[in-house]
């Protein structure tokens, strides 16, 4: 077996492009080896550090035997050129071809004998085109060259069993050399194999393998934090990114002036984490500390790096502190009218207009959620004021959260402050969902107002584009309702919202909007339920049987049936329904008009009577359950008809000679199915 080793040296490639290139290279090489039937033992290893992309395969077969092959050439009547081309592409002379007739005419053929091909030669001929197959998410050109790469590519080292695979990629010629100093690119060194290469860099403190580098960083951070009894929030994305932007990681525990701990911790976190790629640290009570972790890319022998990073954080925090002190005392209520100057969206008015609508909408929701109308209206009125603060223009991600802090500072009730703080939540599928009723009410109102507005001015998402993130907003709306188990009559709220727009002279086509937005919401619900691994036939039945006023019911019923459909009583429910529905379906062609009302006077036996009685028991159950239906119980009640139904079918022939008896029996089955519809229409459930 042979060794294949490729190194692509470039200027610093950003983290996400490294990931992109690594994934592509694996696929590209795997496909190439598979297509050419080259055997690989072990893995295709792809490594990267900012300046180097590496492909290393330690056991690849030296050669491959290609089977004999009959290759069809051009028709014998084709112009001479065609044959010449065929000979040339197969590197053969004319004597090698034969004529053979096929049902499409007489053609030239070449019987290619079995052939041993060297992997080296295959690679040499193909590697340049393989490398060009990387589909960079973003790529660039430089100098006079035409090559597109993530960042300027400087050299290519390519070896097959110590031998250079000689090829050109655009202006670059492969060799056995690479730059060993990434900064000045002054020093060049040649390598024989991967082992000596990795050993050389290891001695220089460079960890080539990103997985090992990540492990090392994690271990070192743990070591450093354990010593100081502090903790970090292990942020997978941040670790991944940091791993990709260093080659010789060094953990520095730094600190900033304790006075900055007075600033809201979200600001501290965002400053360190997003802007500087540091890890904020916390004490055992989850309170933020003035220590932070920097992963440097050098040894910092003189301590300059630590000092520099501390200065940077302090400068940034001084900025934030300045804004915090200024903004927290700016009166929220007095600023509300200034929102008139900020456009919410063209055709949907200013933010002032928006909060007027949200305020009224949340007032309505407050009745359903049994909370104080006055308080939720105050929360609505001030919830967008923070958009005008320096802090939110500096850290847009903190919209809402900052409003909450300002409200607290200015003595607003905690429920109001929290509602302001959380009213953009949940912001996605993994984001935290507000649990407090005031927060739910405000978040719901804000989202309904936005959805109605955007659908109203016909800016709904298309299949490929959703520039205003309305899908995500709808998922958030669903999560608010479902994960808080709230019964919200959405239809009414949408109509009320349309009216609120109308009062402000924004007229929307109410019917169209209702239909489109309703369908859109139900579509998102479908996806949401699918994510919960609920069978799609169950989702279909549940959604078809209810509307957007019953989102919670749709969710609970489908979840419950999904959970029980394989249990005895679940199986029974479906079996009973299907057996009855099938008979009704087979009679659909007949002219009988079955409405679901049997006449007990026409019953001829006890089986009919018993079933009739059972149906009444079921109906009674469903009419007696209050708002809090136990869906488990409902399914069990339905399944309890099993005996009556079986005995009916075993002993009664529905298709009676007498038309009136037959019709009455069909009516009885229809009654049964209808009573099952109280759960939902089971007709689309697949057995």
């Amino acid at each position: 077996m042979s060794e294949f080793f490729l190194e692509l040296f470039s200027e610093e490639i950003p983290s996400r492009l490294q990931i992109n290139a690594r994934n592509d290279l694996i696929q590209i090489f795997k496909k190439f080896f598979d297509d050419n039937e080259i055997i690989i033992k072990g893995k295709i290893n792809i490594y990267s550090i900012p300046n180097r992309l590496i492909v290393y395969i330690n056991k690849v077969s030296k050669d491959v035997t290609k089977k004999a092959q009959e290759i069809r050439g051009p028709n014998i009547n084709a112009p001479e050129k065609a044959l010449e081309g065929f000979l040339k592409s197969n590197k053969i002379s004319k004597e090698k071809v034969i004529k053979k007739s096929t049902d499409k005419g007489i053609f030239f053929f070449y019987n290619k004998p079995p052939q041993k091909v060297k992997t080296y030669d295959l690679l040499k001929d193909n590697i340049a085109s393989l490398l060009l197959k990387i589909s960079w998410k973003k790529s660039m050109k430089w100098g006079y060259y035409d090559l597109y790469w993530g960042r300027p590519l400087k050299s290519i080292l390519c070896l097959f069993d110590k031998k250079i695979i000689d090829f050109k990629l655009n202006h670059l010629q492969s060799s056995n050399k690479t730059f060993i100093d990434k900064d000045l690119e002054d020093e060049v060194k040649s390598f024989n194999n991967f082992k000596s290469y990795i050993k050389f860099f290891k001695q220089r403190g460079v960890i080539i393998d990103q997985n090992k580098r990540k492990e090392f960083i994690t271990k070192e951070i743990n070591k450093a934090t354990n010593q100081k009894k502090i903790y970090i929030n292990f942020n997978e994305k941040l670790i991944e990114e940091i791993t990709n932007i260093v080659e010789k990681p060094k953990i520095l525990v730094c600190e900033f002036n304790k006075k900055f701990l007075e600033i809201p911790q979200e600001i501290l976190i965002i400053t360190m984490q997003y802007h500087q790629k540091y890890f904020p640290t916390f004490d055992d009570k989850k309170k933020i500390t003035n220590n932070f972790i920097v992963v440097a890319d050098c040894k910092d022998k003189k301590g300059l790096v630590k000092l520099g990073n501390q200065n940077v954080v302090e400068a940034r925090l001084a900025d934030a502190e300045f804004f915090w002190n200024r903004n927290k005392s700016q009166n929220l209520v007095k600023q509300v009218s200034k929102l008139k100057q900020i456009n919410y969206f063209k055709g949907l008015g200013s933010y002032f207009d928006k909060i007027q609508r949200v305020r009224k909408l949340s007032g309505i929701i407050s009745d359903e959620l049994l909370i104080s109308k006055e308080k939720i209206e105050i929360a609505s009125s001030i919830c967008k004021v923070d958009l005008m603060s320096d802090l939110v223009s500096e850290f847009p991600e903190l919209q809402g959260v900052m409003g909450g802090y300002f409200a607290r500072e200015q003595g607003f009730d905690e429920e109001i402050s929290l509602a302001v703080s959380e009213h953009y939540l949940p912001s996605g599928i993994d984001s935290k969902v507000p649990k407090k009723p005031y927060s739910i009410a405000l978040s719901l109102s804000d989202k309904i107002d936005s959805l109605v507005g955007f659908f109203g001015i016909n800016l709904k998402p298309t299949s490929s584009k959703d520039p205003y993130a309305l899908r995500r907003m709808t998922i958030s709306l669903l999560r608010l309702i479902i994960e808080n188990q709230k019964k919200i009559k959405l239809r009414d709220l949408i109509n009320y919202s349309i009216n609120l727009y109308k009062e402000q002279n924004y007229s929307f086509d109410s019917k169209l909007l209702n239909d489109e937005l309703g369908d859109f919401i139900l579509d998102r619900l479908k996806n949401y339920l699918k994510e919960k691994d609920i069978r799609s036939d169950i989702i279909e039945c549940s959604i078809n049987s209810h509307g957007i006023d019953d989102l919670l019911k749709i969710f609970n019923k489908s979840l419950n049936l999904n959970k029980n459909i394989k249990k005895d009583f679940g199986i029974d429910v479906i079996a009973i329904y299907k057996r009855s529905a099938n008979i009704l379906n087979s009679e659909r062609e007949s002219k009988l008009d079955i409405v679901g009302s049997a006449d007990p006077g026409l019953f001829k036996n006890d089986y009919e009577k018993n079933l009739y009685k059972k149906i009444h028991t079921i109906r009674k159950y469903f009419s007696s359950i209050d708002r809090d239906e136990n869906y488990d119980e409902s399914l069990k009640t339905l399944s309890s008809a099993k005996n009556e139904v079986n005995e009916f079918f075993d002993n009664v022939i529905v298709n009676d000679q007498e038309e009136i008896i037959k019709k009455n029996r069909l009516e009885l089955l229809k009654m049964l199915c209808k009573s099952f519809d109280n759960y939902f229409n089971f007709s689309k459930i697949e057995v």
């Binding site: 430089w142 960042r151 900064d183 000045l184 920097v294 300059l304 900025d319």
Partner: protein, 294 residues
């Protein structure tokens, strides 16, 4: 090269003006045309025609210059230690981008007292786009021990046209850089020259007064009209195919737009519209300029 003793002196005392002089000297040695700042208000060194227009077309070009930069919205009345509505950029543009540009850049840092081997120098992804210039590029912001000191960009597009060959642009934020070199936490404490003149002696009053102008006193009705006039002038010059004077009008209108923006009288929707209008001018001007190069 500089002797060891001298480097040590450099490190603790290199003044703002010496930083500029050293960079000029360094890039002059690398063959750059050392230019003076463009004499109009611009939002970045990139707007200097020596960068925007000269990065277009096939002719090689190397230049370096200081450019005072105006960002009306960043004014803080002289009260913020890091934010200024007027500051200095040192700009280098080389077309085509040389192979060893990273080395040149790192060595330029040594010329102002930052030894790259003692610091954590990072090239952090930062793709650049200027909607008003119709320009885009790929590159990095360069961090020195966590502080952003330079923008490093390979232009891919300028004035709506694909660049060929590709230019590389290096933009040093001089105040940031000097704060790092002089170890100051407040920009106003920077030492301007060896006589002890401070940054605040020169600029503090200007920051206060221009912040007041940009945020409070600028007459927006008039500025809206001035914008229209400048745009009209640019359009008529474009018709006459005179690119450089047309570009001046375009720069002026861009600055007027920035003041209006700082005054908070431009809505989100309007903003996009104004930017599109300026971009439209730049694109036409770029095209004329390229045509006149042959």
């Amino acid at each position: 090269m500089v002797s060891k003793k001298k480097t040590k002196n450099l490190k603790s005392f290199i003044s703002f003006q010496d930083t500029i002089l050293n960079l000029q000297k360094y890039w002059s040695k690398k063959g750059c045309v050392i230019l003076q700042p463009y004499d109009l208000e611009v939002g970045a060194g990139t707007f200097h025609p020596a960068t925007t227009l000269r990065s277009l077309g096939p002719k090689p070009w190397k230049t370096a210059y200081v450019q005072p930069t105006r960002r009306p919205t960043d004014g803080r009345y002289g009260e913020n230690p890091n934010r200024l509505q007027h500051y200095y950029q040192f700009q280098v543009l080389i077309k085509p981008s040389p192979k060893d540009i990273k080395k040149m850049y790192l060595n330029s840092l040594s010329s102002i007292g930052i030894k790259h081997e003692e610091h954590d120098i990072r090239f952090v992804e930062d793709d650049w786009e200027s909607p008003t210039l119709g320009a885009a590029g790929l590159g990095w912001e360069v961090w020195c021990d966590g502080m952003e000191i330079t923008q490093f960009t390979y232009f891919q597009q300028m004035a709506g046209m694909e660049c060929n060959p590709i230019s590389v642009e290096i933009t040093y934020g001089l105040e940031r850089l000097c704060m790092f070199i002089q170890n100051k936490k407040n920009v106003y404490d920077l030492i301007w020259n060896n006589e002890g003149v401070l940054y605040k002696d020169i600029f503090h009053q200007a920051e206060k007064e221009f912040s007041a102008y940009n945020f409070e006193y600028a007459n927006t009705d008039k500025l809206f009209k001035i914008f229209e006039m400048l745009e009209g002038e640019a359009k008529s010059l474009i018709e006459k195919k005179i690119s450089l004077p047309a570009y001046d009008q375009c720069l002026k209108s861009s600055h007027v737009f920035n003041i209006l923006d700082a005054r908070g009288v431009i809505s989100v929707a309007q903003r996009a519209e104004y930017i599109a209008r300026i971009r439209d001018l730049t694109k036409k001007i770029g095209k004329i300029w390229v045509e006149t190069q042959n």
